[in-house]
Amino acid sequence: MSEILLDAAAFDAAIKKVAKDIFNQNKNIADLAVVGVQNKGVLIAKRFLSELCKIAKVSQETVPFGILDITLYRDDLDDFGADMPLIKDTEIPFDISRKNIILVDDVLYTGRTARAALDVLTDFGRPKCIQLAVLVDRGHRELPIEARYAGVRKVIDGKVKVECKEVDGRDRVIIL
């Protein structure tokens, strides 16, 4: 049994809302860079970026884009037993110092992924600031971390699954 949290239209509206909020607080696009957290955060980050560039009327190539994988920075690697999680690529092909980084993930839950992602980023250098943007903030934080931008904020007890056109064939968010 699953409940739909965001259908395709609401999904699109959530992306547009976040992009607009990011633009309103970061008028100087030249200082911005967008970094998505593997896996789905990368896809969401690309959506935010493309909307943001439409609003700001700049080409997408002008905003540096990176992807990062938190596996080596997880705080629960001791719990995996013999089956270690697969490490995915981290590619930050620009100098992050003095940039305003928009860090993007699909869902904000315990805050542990965001914590690890902050550690990855700071190992690349010293950005001017890091702002967290997510599609869904589902509550239940275990660390003092909050998203500055969220498409939807709602405390959800079940499992949240984000589906994206690129890999799942359609855009929606469901609660399992």
């Binding site: 596996t71 080596l72 013999a82 690529d89 550690d119």
Partner: protein
């Protein structure tokens, strides 16, 4: 993703899927090398002991850097300065390290099978850093990875190993890994340095290097172990140089994009000429860089967990 074992003793017992998993795990570690901070907190709080009963600089250093880049604590024990000289047995030394809560023991030993003895007796993850004439699995893996990185594939690659195959654990690990991955492996060297019946491993034997080199995509040159020359396995070093040194002239018969590899330390002017060692075909220094990334991947994949001991007990 799993290697299904707590130890890395040799490549003989890994299957193609395991080797593929290791190959694919290396790149993310290698990409750390270009960052401003080259460390990750992955193995924080874990202790890695290197226990070397034979001299080594590059392998030990490579393991040490790999472990430190993953934030592990590293303790190096070289046997000349340890209680082994006072007569302690291998198993007792291992037990002592375990009592000190070592999570990994990286061992090099002159006797084939020494790492396996430790693995059977300790809960720590044992990594073989070279045992006798048996195997040197991380060298085999870094050779495999370097070929994979440069040639984009292993299957169908013609790989030639040159020199002292008989005494070389590097050759054995190369042969196991490469044949499993579908490469065509050949060896070339004096008959006295080629182990009998090596063809049964699926390896082609050449005694004429000029002939052997023609088809090769990769030539991996092994070190002539001069310390063994007193066994009189070939008449003289000068004759070896004459027949088996990889020279510019011999390389001229090979494909223009042939990769030249050497596990080090090199005897320039014996198994390899200086001109070849410094040529654009040589990837010897890249092998060293890749060695660190490969060892990081191995440490990661063998990472001990809180539940590991329990699981093992259940299996027994």
């Amino acid at each position: 993703m799993s290697l299904n074992c707590k130890d890395l003793l040799g490549l003989e017992h890994l299957d193609k899927k395991d080797l593929q998993l290791i190959l694919e795990s290396v790149k993310p570690f290698k990409s750390l090398f270009t960052r401003s901070v080259k460390k990750t907190p992955t193995l924080i709080g874990k202790t890695v002991v290197t226990l070397f009963y034979e001299p080594s600089t590059r392998t030990r250093t490579s393991f040490e850097i790999a472990a430190k880049r993953l934030s592990a604590d590293v303790v190096n024990i070289s046997v000349g300065a340890s209680s082994v000289v006072k007569g302690e047995s291998l198993i007792d030394t291992g037990k002592t390290l375990e009592a000190m809560k070592a999570d990994y023991v990286i061992i090099r030993h002159s006797l084939s099978g020494a790492p396996e003895i430790l693995a059977r007796n300790l809960n720590a993850s044992i990594i073989n850093a070279g045992d006798g004439f048996h195997e040197h699995p991380t060298q085999g893996l870094l050779d495999l990875y370097t070929m994979y990185e440069k040639k984009k594939k292993i299957e169908g690659l013609n790989v030639l190993l040159v020199g002292d195959i008989l005494h070389s654990r590097v050759a054995k690990s190369n042969i196991w890994a490469l044949t499993k991955m579908g490469a065509n492996v050949a060896v070339a060297g004096p008959p006295t340095l080629i182990p009998p019946k090596i063809e049964s491993l699926g390896v082609k034997v050449y005694y004429d290097l000029d002939e052997a080199v023609k088809r090769a995509d990769v030539v991996n040159i092994l070190r002539i172990q001069l310390e063994r020359q007193q066994e009189n396995l070939f008449p003289s070093v000068r004759e070896y140089v004459e027949l088996y040194q990889l020279t510019k002239e011999r390389l001229g018969n090979a494909k223009p994009n042939v990769l030249v590899m050497h596990p080090g330390p090199m005897n320039r002017g014996i198994e390899i000429s200086s001109a070849v060692a410094d040529s654009s075909n040589a990837v010897i220094n890249e092998q060293v860089t890749n060695g660190i990334a490969v060892r990081m991947a191995v440490l990661y994949l063998l990472k001990p967990s809180k539940t590991a001991n329990k699981k093992q007990a259940a299996l027994n």
